[in-house]
Symmetry: C2
């Protein structure tokens, strides 16, 4: 008797958590499970602002997939996904193809450029281990270059972070902590370095509690960050950015953090999508496909209370993974009463670098060190859910005080 | 009664050692002594291949000038030297000017490009703390960039060291030790990385003992270095180098180490010079000027045995500093029987990275760990001569075994 084939695409929060859940519940006894990922490691996307600024080593944010998944139970293929052919129940990889009976799409997001010219060519993005190592080294290279120029290029020491949402603010927080170290390392006056947080919306951290936003902005300003709020960027060039009013800010380092869209593979594969995200059914399946689950950044789930989509977060991806794994178990057992996905948003904490953060947990506002501690608790909880105590001990953040 | 003014230009091996000698012998009681240097720190030029490759932090190779010189006794001015006007007994600085009664020129060298096109624009050189920090960061940036390219650029992982003389070989040695670490840090196969040592002369380390050369070449080859001997470079471009036979090697990192010439200030100031070096009198004074001493890389001293100039080394600069300081003392005392400078070449050791080196001390050949130890002894001896036990303890190399 042939076992049904489950293929999981992507080893981000959603894909990894689905795989570990299936492993823990012994689903591999009833199905042949394959996890596909571009790299042989999983990384915590929500930590990437730290290695991008150089305040945490990237190896602290990643782990080998086979250190978490038992590859005797779940097969792992290191390959990129080119396209899904849902009507043929087939996945085209860069180096081969796979059949499936059930597919889990957890392919993650891509940066949203809103079609602004030059972003693709000239801006950096915080999206992967490779991309953040490059940002870290690029920043350091700019510092190293400055004193070697006969005519000083101030753009080398001007850092523009486009977007003051969560990722932008968290990155600016780390960068403001890192810059004084770099100034010391390269014999450069701190006053020469400029950090701009540029946001088109009328506030930093749009949608976040106003008091917390003020706390964050004041703190970051005290570290020398300059906020340009209600300031859309019209174009990114090799020399910097051009603002909507025509003003140019010279900068050799523009980091683009204005949000994400779903994976381009979604659209390429013919799914009906909005900015790469599929409005999934209540059981997380793609409309019209009983054999395809979509979770994480490619899944669109509407928050009925405000009639707007939930933002794509690690928290929601992990909760979806749990529902997805349960529903796969049901299908493997031949049942069709699938679980409805209900998000349970516990709160949000934005780190601001050092021992600082702001957050909302339930209805409680957290500031400073208690928020920073909570952020680490959240990060550690994830590691525990994913790989239990061994993983927590290996990769956890314990410098709490 | 007005004290005579001694001005020392440059705080390299020669200038620093002259200043410390004058300080130790209390010459500052009889003269107003001023040391001028572009930076407020002194660095050990002969160590720079290490921070260039990233195997030693640059702060280990430098020290604040006022941590060695007592600036109550010897005045220190941080400024660049634009020109010397010997007939007016005046030095034009970038930010002012100075009169002198006695001048010591210890301005150091500049890279020799032999007029090869593109070297100035596209090649790096190992010449200062600023320049080697840039090389270190550039190399790391290339590794960080590689995995982010859709179409892999092999030039990012190809490193060309032009010149297999002392500096070139020492740098290649460090780089061959550093590359495996960088491969690990950036998830790159060691096999993808190429290191070329390109030399126009028919041997690596021209002029060095043949057995020692063979040892060095074999060792470096075993670490993956490829030697291109008897291979002149015709041009350096932004994409790599073009060899004399027209072949192109693609590389984003060309480090130029084909030797040095004297400082351009020498020629600009009207001294008769060969490649920026003045053939000094036996007492180290510039011909025709009783009040100007030239030491270090700008001084040309002929080795009568072979009728060729001594190569400009730290060793010879330090010995010249001693003679120069003695002669200044004589002049201050109103005597004119100046000491003749006689070099006493004790030997040469080239480090090859890790615990490896080759050297000739007296007539004894040293290899491997004993040569490497000797190299560290030499480096430590310099620190001791310059700043005594406190400096040695602070900056010395003690990882001998």
């Amino acid at each position: 008797m042939r076992k049904p084939k489950i293929v999981i695409l992507g080893a981000g929060y959603g894909g990894m958590m689905t795989a570990t859940k299936l492993q823990k519940t012994s689903a591999y006894q009833d199905a042949e499970i394959t996890l596909v990922n571009k790299h042989n490691y999983h990384y915590q996307t929500t930590w990437l602002h730290e290695p991008a600024a150089g305040t945490l080593h990237h190896d602290r944010t990643r782990m080998r997939i086979d250190s978490v998944i038992d590859t005797n139970k779940i097969k792992f293929i290191k390959d990129g996904v080119a396209e899904i052919k849902p009507d043929e129940k087939k996945v085209i990889l860069e180096g081969g193809e796979l059949d499936y009976d059930y597919l889990v799409i957890g392919l993650g997001s891509e940066p949203e450029t809103f079609g602004i010219p030059g972003v693709q060519e000239h801006a950096f993005s915080i999206r992967s281990v490779n991309s953040v190592r490059l940002i870290r080294e690029h920043i350091e290279y700019m510092f190293a270059s400055y004193n070697n120029e006969e005519v000083k290029n101030e753009g080398y020491l001007t850092f523009i972070v486009a977007g003051a949402g969560f990722t932008g603010i968290e990155f600016v927080g780390e960068l403001s902590e890192r810059v004084p170290e770099l100034c010391k390392e390269y014999d450069i006056d701190r006053d020469k370095v400029k950090i701009y947080s540029v946001e088109a919306a009328p506030t930093a951290l749009p949608g976040f509690d106003e008091e917390l936003v003020n706390y964050a902005v004041n703190l970051l300003e005290s570290r020398g960050v300059e906020f340009l709020i209600s300031t859309p960027i019209k174009e990114v060039t090799k020399d910097g950015v051009i603002l909507a009013d025509g003003e140019e800010i010279k900068s050799s380092t523009v980091v683009w953090t204005t949000g994400v869209r779903g994976n381009s593979v979604i659209e390429k594969s013919g799914f009906e999508a909005m900015r790469g995200r599929v409005k999934v059914d209540k059981d997380l399946r793609a409309p019209g496909y009983e054999d395809i689950f979509i979770i994480g950044d490619c899944a669109l789930v509407i928050n009925d209370e405000i009639n707007r989509p939930y933002p794509p977060t690690a928290q929601i991806a992990m909760q979806q993974a749990k529902t997805c794994a349960n529903n796969l178990k049901q299908l493997l057992a031949g049942k069709d009463n699938l679980e409805t996905f209900t998000p349970d948003i516990k709160g949000t904490v934005a780190s601001l670098g050092g021992k600082e953060a702001v957050g909302l947990v339930g209805s409680k506002k957290l500031y400073g060190q208690s928020a920073s501690m909570m952020k680490k608790v959240i990060d550690n909880r994830y590691l525990f859910l994913l790989g239990g105590m061994p993983l927590l001990l290996k990769k956890g953040k314990f410098n709490m005080f």
